[in-house]
Symmetry: C2
């Protein structure tokens, strides 16, 4: 038996199929992915997203030979990438074992819709609804009018090593990242938030693991809450996060921007864009989060 050295992220989203219950997977939520006392919501979405991807493939290798050939012929085997995935966060996850229960809503020729429930200690933490396809088979036309965020090169940005110690302390997951924030959007770390409602920077994993679709689910929730830039420090729990994956990311740095334009009634939206090193807008996400309570 050989032991492959896995990246921290691949270890973080690793799943073991339950021997008796098809569609059920066992996970081990790592302490290294914590933020503010819970496991990061993007990592949880990647764990659940991974489970649906495995379930879609497994559905495909079960069944009769005829069903398998039909699936292979219509390409259903390849519904491994979430095109649109929504997670509703129900309770805070802790490091330790968790189960993911998946279900298929509809399997079509080009798209499969499915659900996942992440359960820990008998309590549901996260419910997911998603539509999967295969990003590698999409037609090549790109007519994006959006422009990537403008910021200095990574070496002119602010690394995590300069973050306030109390932030690092609460955010073990930052040690997994090579995150370089645009100096124009980190005034909050020095007590001078820009109040523009924007935080942006360069992202890659510290251990060199290259981006892929599942990593983008983590990245969509990886930056500090955009409310820091509004002068609101504190915890901003995600109610719901939806990510659209639009292309397989190229290797290298990702450019990530978070912005909010509507903080009201105790909630705010956080829009995230993720651009790859080839200049492609590879993911767009939006979350609804609870605004931090005044200290």
């Amino acid at each position: 038996m050989t032991t492959a050295i896995r990246s921290e992220f691949d270890q973080g989203i690793a799943l073991t199929p339950h021997p008796d219950e098809p569609g059920r997977y066992e996970a081990e939520l790592g302490a290294g992915w914590q933020i503010g006392g819970g496991v990061n919501g993007g990592l949880l979405l990647a764990v659940a997203g991974h489970a649906i991807s495995l379930a879609n493939s497994a559905d495909n290798v079960n069944g009769t030979d005829n069903e398998r050939s039909a699936d292979a012929a219509n390409g259903a085997a390849a519904h491994r990438h979430p095109l649109s995935i929504t997670g509703h966060y129900l309770s805070a996850s802790r490091p330790g074992p968790a189960s993911v229960l998946t279900g298929t809503v509809r399997r079509g020729r080009t798209l499969t819709t499915g659900t996942a429930s992440l359960v820990q200690d008998g309590e549901e933490r996260l419910r997911v609804l998603a539509t999967y396809g295969d990003l590698t088979t999409l037609d090549g036309e790109v007519a994006t009018s959006a422009e990537p965020p403008v910021m200095p090169v990574p070496d002119a940005c602010i690394g995590v090593e300069h973050a306030p110690p109390q932030l690092i302390e609460q955010a073990a997951l930052l040690e997994r990242f090579d995150l370089r924030l645009d100096p124009a959007t980190v005034g909050w770390a020095l007590g001078q938030p820009s109040r523009n409602g924007r935080i942006q920077g360069w992202f890659r994993l510290a251990d060199g693991r290259q981006p892929d679709p599942l990593l983008l689910l983590l990245v969509a929730d990886a930056l500090p809450p955009v409310t820091f830039d509004l002068g609101m420090p504190g915890w901003a729990p995600t109610i719901e996060l939806t990510v659209h994956l639009r292309a397989v990311p190229a290797p290298g740095w990702l450019r990530v921007s978070h912005a909010t334009r509507n903080l009201a009634g105790g909630y705010f939206e956080e829009d995230c864009e993720i651009w790859d090193e080839a200049g492609r807008l590879v993911a767009q996400s939006r979350q609804l989060a609870r605004a931090p309570r005044p200290a």
Copy 2:
């Protein structure tokens, strides 16, 4: 027995609780809400959203007296508004009877998360996952930096009566609307799309029924597809639509803008903002849709 005169929209989303199955509701999808051969996706989301709202209230009046008092004390009775609602569109709906099956995922003190499946002829049309609360109880602070879309007053905009006949023919639902599009964003109707990827206008219901949270779910998918403005006529089926409701809308006109910035790989995102007559950003939505196939 008296018969109340109901608005077209209230009739469109009317539901009858199933006598034997708690959480199941019967609907009648009206021919007047069709577009491009199917029932409009926003109307379907409003039907499913209505069902979850009823189910949340019904959960609350069932159970023991003690449970009822506990619910009343913690305000759970009032989880009647979707704060974040996501629908995945599985197959095209036709006018006629449909059933909505609801389920509760988690009932909390301030939020309840639930699901709905809209089923017709034994086939699932729409799967919904949503978190509900009570918009009337949110704290009053508003710090919105977004600006409402700038456009001429309704009387200087283009009414539906000027739409191309082939559009009206395919879109019975337009007769339910008093929709006035900004002249700057209707060049496509004359064969001169701006190619900015934006369509905006004023919206109210033709029969004078005032806006409320459920109506906003319809409005989020009520304008012509924004791809018209990119010079791509044709049907743009919604894969997934997520709406965040942020406030109860004031009576009067709604200002609605649709925009896309990332048409690629055969899909595009459509972002919608809905502003009420009091100048409040009451809803934000995003959908992932399939780009129209070239004619």
